[in-house]
């Protein structure tokens, strides 16, 4: 650790000249259907997070509008397709596209997932769970290092929701991600909703998870909604990112703020995307909770 020096908390919103540092207010995930409205209305948001792959393009209208948005908001890039946990070779084309995007958009944070999505050249384009073994840890540390060296910057790794566990696992997910951060020098993007979903699905205490993550490794927090489904005789929570943040997840967010201090927080909403105002209201709610946490800490 220490090779990469990007700390978002020290960055100012150099693009829009606002008084608040980038990330001091909550941000939202940027979705194409809100592009124009965001440019027209410029809602008060801390920053915007774009899915990297959506802007893998030589040119064209999507990329153009992101450049316009970038003039008014700080931006983070969140990848969903690098398949960093796969045992296939890293896709250098994908990585080059990402490097180009980073060069062109100067994001405050770049993140990927603690998951894999391809094997034998076939891609499932989903965030698939890993077995938490020493073998997988060694592999992930090498892969994250390779990505960071190629991009010449630190990346954040985000915990995913899961619906199964492998019986080969010898480590817990929280010990795995803590060790990954320590050994690779990556930061952690903590998705509080995903922790809650996995905790309910697998029967662990989400506070145990939070308490195992090193305080200084968490550089971003995600909040999102999930659904409760009945599969056979079991209730399974599915991470849809398609509704408002649930009350237990807000409660867990309060706990996370006590442990990790003020961390840039993002509202994610990927399916059944609502009106922009709904997202702005969720971000404002996150801001209120963060302010209250700061007042208690002070």
């Amino acid at each position: 650790m220490g090779t990469y020096s990007l700390n978002p908390r020290a960055l100012s919103a150099h693009a829009h000249g606002g008084a608040a540092p980038a990330g001091s207010q909550a941000g939202i995930g940027l979705r194409a259907r809100h592009h124009r409205e965001i440019l027209q209305r410029r809602p008060p948001l801390g920053w915007l997070e774009a899915h990297s792959e959506n802007y893998f393009a030589q040119g064209g209208p999507q990329r153009d509008i992101l450049l316009q948005i970038r003039e008014h908001y700080a931006l983070s890039l969140h990848g969903v397709g690098l398949s960093i946990g796969s045992t296939d070779p890293l896709d250098r084309t994908h990585l080059c596209e990402l490097a180009r995007l980073i060069r062109d958009f100067d994001p405050m944070l770049v993140s990927e997932h603690l998951s894999w999505s391809s094997a034998g050249g076939r891609f499932l384009n989903d965030l698939l769970p890993l077995p938490y073994t020493e073998e997988a840890l060694t592999h992930l540390v090498a892969r994250v290092r390779e990505v960071q060296e190629t991009l010449t910057r630190q990346i954040l790794i985000e915990n995913v929701s899961s619906y199964l566990q492998f019986n080969a696992s010898t480590l817990t997910e929280w010990d795995f991600i803590a060790a990954l951060a320590q050994e690779s020098g990556c930061g952690v993007l903590l998705d509080v909703n995903n922790i809650y979903v996995s905790a309910m699905n697998h029967g662990f205490d989400p506070h145990t998870y939070l308490n195992a993550i090193p305080r200084d490794s968490v550089q971003e927090i995600h909040l999102a909604g999930h659904t409760l489904n009945r599969v056979g005789s079991r209730e399974i929570r599915i991470d849809t990112h398609g509704s408002q943040v649930s009350e237990p997840v807000w409660a867990l967010y309060r706990t996370a703020l006590r442990r990790f201090g003020h961390v840039p927080t993002l509202i994610e909403w990927d399916t059944d995307i609502p009106a922009l105002d709904v997202l702005v209201a969720e971000a404002a709610k996150a801001d209120l909770i963060a302010e209250a946490a700061r007042a208690v800490a002070a």
């Binding site: 040119g59 050249g121 891609f123 499932l124 384009n125 199964l164 492998f166 019986n167 080969a168």
Partner: protein, 196 residues
């Protein structure tokens, strides 16, 4: 003990090919069968793929209806699984797949519509370039005209069609995202040029 590599290959087989025999022994049942757990991922995978395919081919989806589009999409992904972490490319083989399905049937116009929609998708992410300014051409000496070489704009594709695909596209409500820069061609005419 299954290696990480073997685990990932078995899991991929379970999701794509529907056979969870190899992966099931390595998944904790914990109140729900391993197959049921894999099926959650299998379902997520199909939903994500079909959604991405429908985004790229909205006119095909409208013409064949949502249910049949889903059936086609499931057959398509079984034969042409995604080869990249970026879903932009999944539609590349769709027109060819539709040709195999519908050649020499009354529905063969669908594959031409798919070619047109794929051309749109390619144009949307193609490099930017300033369109040609024709004014300087006035000062080119007539004897040099034969030396001029023109380059096609990167966001321009030519789609040849037997069917009046632009008219079909417009009558079905358009693709919603694009403009076409040609009058609807007559049947048998060879050009439906598109650009962003």
């Amino acid at each position: 003990m299954l290696s990480l590599r073997e685990l990932q290959l078995s899991f991929t087989t379970a999701v794509l090919d529907g056979s969870s025999t190899a992966i099931s022994p390595w998944i904790r049942a914990d109140g729900l069968s391993p197959t049921a757990r894999v099926n959650i991922y299998r379902n997520n995978f199909h939903e994500g793929f079909l959604k991405a395919l429908a985004l790229g081919f909205p006119v095909i989806q409208r013409l064949v209806g949502e249910d049949y589009f889903r059936q086609l999409g499931r057959l398509f992904v079984a034969e042409h699984p995604s080869r990249a972490g970026n879903l932009h490319h999944i539609g590349c083989a769709f027109a060819g797949f539709l040709r195999d399905q519908f050649a020499a049937t009354p529905y063969s116009y669908l594959l031409e519509i798919a070619e047109l929609e794929w051309a749109y998708q390619e144009c949307l992410i193609a490099a930017d370039a300033v369109p040609l300014d024709l004014t300087p051409l006035q000062s080119v000496a007539p004897e040099r005209l034969a030396d001029l070489r023109f380059e096609v704009h990167p966001a321009c594709r030519m789609v040849s069609s037997e069917f009046p695909i632009v008219r079909i596209l417009c009558q079905s409500g358009g693709s919603g995202r694009h403009r076409t820069h040609r009058p609807a061609p007559r049947r048998g005419s060879r050009a439906a040029a598109t650009e962003k």
